[in-house]
Symmetry: C2
Subunit: 223 residues, 2 copies
């Protein structure tokens, strides 16, 4: 039985990849830079997005897809800031897939968007290997989770281009070995980028906006 | 294809349930109280277990099964305190299942154990619905994750007998609405128990030990 499951999983992944490429092609045609944000529950993805939407407002058009098991709380938070936000409820599913994304894309005016952020289900395991068609995968790790998470959840950190270390304002109150975390990241994923910040206080946020700007320029230039 | 997947999932769950009942029967014969601990990555399950092992030492014999995607760091931490700890690496799997537990039970002298703690993979989604044969499922939620996690991950909180709210020593530094979290828990799972504590400072720990003692007495009396 496990063999059959594993074959089905491969078929599911292949079909996901096909739809992800269709999404990617749509994003490319419409010159929209797409970021897939992943983390544990409570690492601060939504707060990071709220601050990002605020900072980009006026200069760029931003859309957000919010993935959750239940509730539309996150999309409500983003909409309150004036951005277009669409909620996907997975009804218990532990990650977003390319089909779910494809289904909600008609809710956006893609040709008008500069950025589309996808906030995945809070989970350091399942979302890692599902391509949604994004340009970049970003993992958010937060200080209270502890510096051992990169070594303990290597699949996620191997699949992302950038690791945002959030909640650095809590470093004075918590044991977190920054040097060890950076070493673990280079072990698990040599060359991966690392960006410490606090979405709450704004510390380190300029570097995150700069990273986004470079990615947008690269995506537009690649048309 | 999705129908076939879903039938396979049901078959997997049924087979898991069969093995879970075998585990449960072994636990009953050996009068060992078994707790399945689940949470997001970094909520503090291992620190809670370290403190629990320390507090129970001398009075009770304790075994620990550590579930992780990779590394044996958690089992090493528990062994350093003198308890028997066995590491299960799921190689990317997002939860433990009853077979994985059955396979490592011969590594313990079950008849000598009073408690067996199972630390599941850090994940608020996948482990919720897999019975391991435990007496009780406990979810650990931590203050930095935010009070909205119960409403956003309802399946997990519906499946547990007790929610430990860990890291209450951080309440002065973080926005966390205790009242809202308790209300959400009663909405999602009426009658569920709620136990705020800090595994770091020891605040609230006596109530956790008392809860464990009552569960042990009930398990022994049920023989």
């Amino acid at each position: 039985m496990s063999m059959r499951i594993s074959m089905d999983k491969q078929a599911v992944q292949a079909e996901n990849q096909r739809v992800a490429e269709e999404n990617r092609s749509l994003f490319r045609q419409n010159k929209v830079t797409v970021i897939n944000l992943m983390s544990s529950p409570g690492a601060g993805k939504t707060t990071l997005l709220e601050k990002t939407v605020e900072q980009l407002a006026g200069r760029y058009k931003v859309g957000v897809i919010e993935g959750d098991l239940a509730t539309s709380r996150d999309a409500d938070r983003i909409r309150a800031l004036g951005a277009t936000a669409v909620q996907i409820n997975t009804n218990g599913g532990c990650h977003l897939d390319a089909h779910m994304i494809a289904k909600v894309l008609p809710d956006f005016s893609l040709s008008e968007l500069d950025y589309l952020f996808i906030e995945n289900v809070g989970n350091l395991v399942c979302p890692a290997t599902y391509d949604l068609g994004q340009h970049h995968k970003v993992a958010v790790l937060s200080v209270p989770e502890g510096n051992d998470k990169i070594a303990k959840y290597p699949v996620m950190f191997r699949h992302v281009d950038l690791v945002v270390l959030n909640k650095v304002d809590l470093l004075p109150y918590l044991p977190f070995d920054l040097k060890q975390a950076e070493e673990d990241l280079q072990m698990v994923h040599p060359g991966a980028q690392w960006l410490p910040l606090s979405a709450l206080t704004g510390e380190g946020f300029a570097a995150w906006l700069e990273w986004l700007e470079q990615r947008r320029q690269a995506a537009v230039a690649a048309q």
